[in-house]
Amino acid sequence: MTIIRRRTLAGLAAALFLSWSGTPLLAQTVGGALVAGTYAGANSLDPHFISSTTARTFLSGIFESLVTVDENGSPIPMLAESYDVSVDGLTYTFKLRTNVTFHNGQALTATDVKASLERFGRISPEKIIMATVTGIDTPDDHTVVLTLSEPNPLFIDKLASPASPSSIIPASEAERELNEAGFIGTGPYQVAEWVPDNRFVMSKFTGYAPRTDAEGRDGLGGKKTAYLDKVTFLIMPETSSRIAALESGQVQFVDDVPPATAERLKSGGQINVVPLETFQMPALVFNFAKAPTSDIRVRQAILAALDLNEALPVVADNGPSTLDASFLYAGNALYSEAGSEYFNQANVEKAKALLAEAGYKGEQIVLNVGSLGIMTRMGLVVNEQLTNAGFNVLVQNMDVPTLLSSFTTDEGWNLATGGFGVQPFLGAYSWQRMINGPTNLSRSHNDTEMDALWAEFNAATDVPARAEIFSRIQGHTYEQAYFAKMGNVGQNYALSPKLGGFTSWPGPVRFWDVWLEP
């Protein structure tokens, strides 16, 4: 009950904010410089090669794409005024907005879009999106036509993905190789300085032309306004110094605030804490290829044994969390509760019965635990619950790169601590790589039913049909026990009370439509 109420309130607050942000009801202050302390730097800041949360946050104010995502992760046009899909699903025609200029003063044209998409298709980790595109034509300066070799009903969803966005940059920059393109975008902010591992500074782009067809900010799209003159991200990996910088006034915003610190800051009354309930989905991944977890009954026994009422608060370190079986966040059009009967069963008797049926005689179950805090806590609580239920668990602690290699091999592990950060937000389609085909984490090599379900999903042309199929995919994933989702785990942001307009959402942190009161 509490959970539902909390979510409803958050939704209401978000809805209220959206309706406010376009109107002058709140006194937005123009000008000022914000300093934000962030927990990690970014390895690459190439507009087409983004592989970390921080890089997405840094660049989301700088670059824009033809289409992007709204507050719920659904696609909306951004640099495109509008787009049309031909009846056969093979031709996508984008009409560009005519008043957009790049940070270098040059006007956006179809040639820039073509060159950018070609570069995206060449170097992006998400370049597979462009694999079915056979032609990019520019009949005039503000029209771009993409031709596909086969229908791909999810093409727009994928093109709008903020994971490693299809940023539009000037054609002259698009000729450059990986990590050599300049920071010239069309966003409300432009890059002023980038010192790796130290700071990322952006300043207001005075030539920015916002969309006029929206009330205000909507996800990464809508009508964006840069109120601040300057935003500096300081990279501060050590939590205590990041918090100290906030308390001393050196910075006005910090991310990744540990729950215990958040409580202390809240009780002090000088700092505002904004939780993000849906930051990630920690999960215990099962290996289908190695005994004894190759037996579905053993995997189902593990699902049965887990008591998430006890485990989730441990995993979340008593921070924001919700017990929710779905693979997507509430609010997503494809949200489903399918398979929830397998979630949080806390039924040791059922687990023992399943183990007896499988003929389990105490064979070792190797649990690979990563060195991140959340993984360590998950490893501890899972080990204890499974051992109590009669499993013979061997815990192997390792750093994250070693853990990641587990998912590329059939041998050496039965269970591994893992989790999903971007998939729940990006949407249903992004789950395919995780649970189907050669890249699935669970080393499942011949699940023909899963193959068929995804083929059906990828061919579905409307949202209700996709929702129905994805519901079956989620149910099948639980039935086959690909992994045990532990729940949704959030994180906290802490900010100065003078920082107005900030709201949390599962996407990159946004500093447009945010202002500093004097």
Binding site: S51, P125, L234, V400, P401, P438
Partner: protein, 314 residues
């Protein structure tokens, strides 16, 4: 002397080649693969393989090592797998921060440590000596990360005199640079101050009880001159030895301090490279660190000869 330096420099080249070979081989033994890290969860085997090929990680180990040495001869340390930029550039970007930090910390510990040690020895068994001994024991026992956080709470949060972290390049804002360096340099120096003060005190107490000091005093040479000219100079020999060690300890201690104070230095670069298996960066930073160690040892040997005329290198 010139012959000695040349010989030592040549030995250093051999040492560096061996260090690189060992680190190259050790990295291969550690599980985990930079291509997997870069490709991310859910990447296809083809994607991982493409990255491996792009960075030459698919080649046999001897070929990889050979290519690396060949590049080194041309001043090329390869490209960072995760950042994409040349390793020399990545290191050059981080070097000023680490140099600032260690140089200031080194200067603080030399001045405060040696002066404290001298004053303690001259006031042997009096309250000042006991105070120096007690505070150096305190300095030696405090973990640097704990001290760092304590200093942040006092000077940044409560007094708001100094920033809690971050690095300002010297060229951009000298005052900001100095402000950003005070707390980290002091945190790094404190342990070494205690160490140096104790060594200096012991050496000087020993020298002060020597016959030639009594002779000097008996000849009527003023006290300060006996101390500076005769005693301290002789007491410095064991101190010079530990100075080399202290500098090495500071380079390794900077990993922790750079993390706590958010300083973009070599230490943080190396630890994050290890965590992401960025082989070329690990190789490059190790090479630079090993070169710094060799150079410092050479300098220490040269200083020996300057301080102690009995030491001669031929």
């Amino acid at each position: 002397m010139i012959g000695f330096i040349t010989k030592r420099l040549l030995t250093a080249v051999v040492v560096l080649a061996i260090v690189s070979l060992i680190s190259f081989s050790l990295m291969q033994l550690v599980p985990g693969d930079p291509a997997v890290v870069l490709a991310g969860v859910g990447a296809t085997a083809d994607q991982v393989e493409a990255i491996r090929q792009a960075y030459g990680l698919d080649m046999p180990l001897p070929v990889q090592i050979g290519r690396w040495y060949l590049g080194l001869l041309h001043g090329d340390l390869g490209r960072s797998v995760l950042m994409g930029s040349p390793v020399t550039q990545v290191i050059a970007e981080r070097l000023p921060a680490t140099l600032s930090l260690t140089a200031i910390a080194f200067a603080i510990s030399l001045v405060v440590g040696i002066a404290g040690g001298i004053l303690a020895a001259l006031n042997q068994d009096r309250w000042f000596d006991r105070f120096i001994l007690a505070s150096s024991a305190f300095g030696l026992s405090i973990p640097s990360f704990w001290l760092a956080i304590l200093l942040i709470i006092v000077f940044s949060v409560n007094l708001t005199w100094l920033p809690a972290g971050g690095y300002v390049p010297l060229g951009r804002d000298p005052l900001g640079w100095a402000m950003s360096m005070i707390l980290p340099a002091f945190s790094l120096a404190l342990l070494q101050i205690g160490y140096l003060a104790r060594i200096t005190r012991t050496a000087l107490v020993d020298v002060l009880s020597q016959d030639y000091i009594r002779t000097a005093v008996a000849k009527g040479i003023p006290h300060w001159r006996v101390v500076t000219r005769h005693a301290v100079r002789n007491a410095l020999i064991p101190v010079v030895t530990v100075v080399g060690i202290i500098f090495s300890l500071m380079l390794s201690g900077s990993v922790v301090i750079e993390t706590v104070f958010s300083i973009p230095g070599l230490g943080r670069l190396m630890s994050s490279a290890i965590m992401s298996r960025d082989y070329p960066v690990i190789q490059g930073t190790l090479l630079v660190t090993a070169a710094a160690f060799s150079l410092i040892n050479l300098l220490v040997d040269i200083i020996y000869a300057v301080v102690d005329p009995r030491v001669k290198y031929d």
